[in-house]
Symmetry: C2
Subunit: 390 residues, 2 copies
């Protein structure tokens, strides 16, 4: 195991009706003037009104900025930064999913920064930010407990990530009941994203990491068990609850410490959701099997281990490659069974896009012709991986 | 899953040589005058000198209070409280194991409290305390990441626990190399304590808790794999590292949220270590199999599940009780294999002590003839359980 530093100070209020605690939590964490940032269905579901009522109950004034879309854009971030400065906002409350939380994190970092907030998405660590709270409406991104944010810049459609403990939420409200109204496709995309966060950590070059291997496997087993139950019956509160905690644990990094991680699947996928504006999870469902089939020979034993421990494959000691591939097939079949797409065409793309995808992937944001993770992938590798998605 | 609130803001510096960061971390978390609290072998191992050097490097003055013994006593806590007040200490640095950390937590709570600190050990929640940091020397108690502390009061030899987010450490330094010099018996007692923290959480009456079930099983599987490797080769850094992170994760409660928990084994054991001054883990090795054989019929399926998923037993669908009991046998055999005691006599006790044990267990600290957890146990139940330890 490698040396590490781990710090996850977010407070979690989990369970039914916890959105009504938003005001009290903002107060507890020192907010006196709030920007409520949101998007999607939180207005018509009545959630926004409940959150506002809880702020009013505590006598906390607020402004609103709606309009967050999936794959959140830098334009709205600039707007939010201006609004916060003009209104002397000192706390940002994100009401929504990963896109809303990530947009809030970008605003929180930008308000206290003299330069262009995009610098953080080019690699600068966020060291100061306004405090953030979240009311989560989908189990997926893990942004509710993570120091990460992903934003898309309209110019060149660059989708990039920033990070820093300063943008870890002070609190996150996780009410599984809020996710019961999600359409099956969105639920499945969330499930896929959570599983990708686990696989990205599982694919490591670090040795002797049994405790984090076991924790990742535990969360994958949970998703395997609870995912189909949610697709079959979206109202299943208990399955939603198990998935919601798994989603947080998958990405607060307590199961990823002390080991190198991959993240090539995320990096490769970001080009897909940036170009096609598809759900990130849907893009990952197409990306992961392609990447894994391309890289599994780098560590057959590791792929065979997850196949046996998570997917219940039988270990073929004569031919462990067979077991490794069976595990990848099992993952792909699982994702397909919950309604995820299987290829580039399903996402709205085709083979002609590959040169453009590879160019943006490998030749922007200071990248020098390759991306790194479990293994380093050059432009030829990335081209081959996109071809496996056809 | 039940509603819950989870907050674990401790920062962890994990890995080789991390004790040299103690001074910088005290500074980061606002300490300007430190009490170093310690016991055991930290003087002769040279660890204390390294910690002092790191404080001196940051220009942070300190006082010392050594003398912590296993099953830490209230007498030293009172001494520490007086010393902190006299010297205007504003940060307590615990250098040692669970006993030292728990003693530090008691001092930290007592300094800011007008009454007798023991009130917290009679059930009052700790709401204010001096900040604490820890340099951990044994993977066992999990106190490095928990809001809990256990202290023994000399008068009546009462061993009782206190709790509160205020006594969660601000930071904990976890260097697995510091545990390589532990005698095998102490290592095994630590392993047993960690496994007990997992079983206490596993035994729940809450339904639909797959994610936390799986996380607990993951940590039990880690202990099953790494425990024997440490006993066989105490110098095994990697096995030590996996156990150390598992020990923290077992008790910071991320795997125990949203479910009722047991803690009867701990409560029953505390009488043993209070009376015989044995290692808490050794007492638990004797206690757990006895308790589990007494209560397993309350939920045979749960005991069968851990038997299958952790101990590799085959599920007997005709007779699940057999599977459940096989799992308890497997746990007992495992603990015996790593050198733990098997009965009351091994701990220095005998059957004649049982009435006294039961009386202190069920008739002190406001207890009214029974203790509660997975099931409620009255005096007769507790007597029968202690008899199973003969």
């Amino acid at each position: 195991m490698e040396n590490f530093y781990f710090y996850s100070p977010t407070a979690f209020a989990f369970g039914k009706d916890t959105e009504n605690e938003a005001g009290a939590l903002v107060k507890k964490f020192g907010g006196t003037k709030v920007l409520i940032h949101y998007g999607g269905s939180v207005v018509r579901s009545g959630l926004l009104d409940r959150v506002k009522a809880s702020l009013e109950k505590e006598g906390i004034p607020f402004k609103e900025l709606g309009g967050v879309k999936p794959n959140p854009r830098s334009g709205l971030v600039y707007e939010g930064i201006d609004l916060c400065r003009k209104e002397n906002i000192d706390f940002i409350l994100a009401v929504g999913g990963g896109s809303t939380i990530d947009s809030s994190k970008a605003i929180a970092a930008g308000v206290l920064y003299d330069g262009d907030f995009w610098d953080f998405y080019e690699g600068k660590i966020v060291e100061k930010a306004l405090p953030i709270g979240t009311v989560l409406t989908i189990a997926a991104a893990g942004s509710e407990g993570s120091p990460d944010s992903v934003i898309t810049k309209e110019e060149g459609m660059l989708k990039r990530g920033a990070s820093g403990d300063a943008i870890r939420p002070k609190f996150s409200i996780l009410n599984p009941a809020l996710t019961q109204t999600l359409p099956p496709y969105q639920s499945a995309a969330g499930i896929t994203d959570i599983m990708a966060h686990l696989y990205e950590r599982y694919l490591t070059n670090s040795k002797e990491v049994e405790v984090t291997d076991r924790l990742i496997e535990a969360l994958l087993l949970t998703m395997k068990h609870e995912g189909p139950r949610v697709i079959e019956n979206p109202d299943n509160y208990e399955a939603r609850a198990n998935i919601m905690w798994a989603g947080m644990m998958a990405h607060n990094n307590s199961c990823g410490v002390g080991r190198s991680q991959d993240w090539n699947s995320h990096t490769i996928e970001h080009e897909l959701s940036a170009l096609y504006d598809c759900a990130h999870g849907a893009g990952l469902a197409v990306t992961m099997p392609a990447v894994f089939r391309y890289v599994y020979k780098h560590d057959v034993t590791r792929f065979a281990k997850v196949a046996v421990r998570v997917w219940g494959c039988e270990m073929d000691y004569e031919n462990p490659e067979r077991t490794a591939l069976e595990g990848i097939d099992a993952l792909e079949n699982f994702l397909y069974s919950i309604g995820m797409p299987g290829n580039l065409e399903d996402l709205g793309g085709d083979a002609d896009d590959i040169p453009k995808l590879v160019n943006t992937l490998c030749r922007t944001s200071g990248r020098n012709g390759s991306i790194s993770g479990f293994i380093t992938l050059n432009e030829e590798d990335c081209t081959n991986i996109y071809k496996l998605m056809i």
